[in-house]
Amino acid sequence: MTENETELETQIAEWRSYMLRRRAVASADVDELEDHLRERVADLTETGLRPDEAFLIAVKRMGRMDELSREFAREHSDRLWKQLVLTDEDAPAEAEQRRGLLVMVVCAALGVLAVKLPALFGFGFDDSMEFYGRNAGLLVLAPLAVYFAWRRKVSRGTALALLGLFALGAVGANAYPVEDDSQSIVLTAIHLPLALWLVVGVAYAAGDWRSGQRRMDFIRFSGEWFIYLVLIGLGGGVLTAITLGTFSAIGIDAETFISEWLLPCGVAAAVVVAAWLVEAKQSVIENMAPVLTRVFTPLFAVTLVAVLVAIGLTTNAIDVERDMLILFDLLLVVVLGLVLYSISARDPVAPAGLFDWMQLALVVSALLIDVLVLIAILGRITEFGFTPNKSAALGENLILFVNLAWTAWLYWGIVKGRKRFALLERWQTDYVPVYAAWVWVVVLVFPPVFAFA
């Protein structure tokens, strides 16, 4: 290929990417227009123009992009809101999409199978809550890992590593002789899904988990997956209520069907379907997630400040019951999620604005709350000694504290215009292995250390 041609190819690729950003213009239309552009360039070069000159004229003839896309929008006004329609026959990657759909269906079926198979061995969903508590994460996330491994066509080494990690999770969940009502089993039930979620991340990144970019992608994916899962869950709730109601109206009790079949199978399938939706309907979620972030960042900031003010006024200490600790950790994680998401969605070169101050306030108030929680936990530990719960809570809050403190520091620099956003992004992606290490420690090391308490 001559230099001129390569240059032309780059120009066309650039033009394509600009064109694809127009929401009224579907990618098949861009294909069609590209074909048109190329024909015209070929005709013009035949008359003696150089390819780059020909490209300029061809693009100019095509008219200004926004005018062109307005014409498309007039004819295809449906596209602006009908993006949720699942089948797009013209899509260039039609075969690929079909394959994705097929893989999704197979993996969702795997998930259903994984959840229901234990019932054959006497672990019914209603009367073996303890078994499902330990293994739920394993059962629903393994099919998701399979889904990504399959979609991404991971290498043999990665596949083996994934298999090994899930096997390790299975051992961690089931091998230790812990009591049904012990703290350890609850900790495993909470931490194992988190550990395995990060393993899914390895599959998501097709084994390239060291790449910061891939990690950021996975963080974004996690947020978007969660939104879709919640949406599906809401729909599922309506379906459940209607099923219950209509069957009870005709005198049939559907409760067993729902708790044994609809609920577990629905959840298992939704985990995979949500992951598929995130990628298949990328443009939808890309529009939704930043909006949600914008809406909830100020609300959470206000809530946190209100909590701090309330603590200051009443001088009530934070209650360190297990549920409370989980709640606070969840709150801190949500704060981090909001910060991360808005970072990943924002234009990195845009100057810091009011919203960034809001985020800084959010991070700082989360940091203060974390300090209060840490003080409360340490107080309990010095009084009553270490238990699995308190140790896990201490570790998590320390980890979050370090992250939030450094995030606040970086954010301060960013708001003051001294630092770039990329630093904050780097910090967050570099920090992910810390979480992974900690949750695995809680799952694998804690039970023997605390004598399976």
């Binding site: 294909d31 069609e32 190329r38 024909e39 015209r40 095509m62 498309f72 007039r74």
Partner: protein, 122 residues
Amino acid sequence: MHIAKDLVAASATPLVLGILAEEESYGYAILKAISERSGGRLEWTEGLLYPLLHRLERLGYVDAHWRTPEGGRRRKYYAITPEGLKELAEQRKQWDAVTEALQDIWKATRSIVPTPGPVLEG
């Protein structure tokens, strides 16, 4: 010569359907054919042509399908359907009526037809 936008828009559908009635074709070729048929006086933009083609497709007047020649890029071809032919016949009737009326009027008002101006010499 500049042709008014409204006239271009009104004549767009019969022109495209007429060209496709001869044989199936694709966007760029249709644009070229229109330019040639009008002696370069009708210059369409892509913003006019492609949305129009998609509308005709939606209305069922043309069928579209992608085809990839061996070793080439895939291209979207349009072919006229029986409904399209019917629509073309209908449009043709209407245009005939319009042009007939216009012809009549042009004849009656021959005097104001732009006559070649006095040839200035020198």
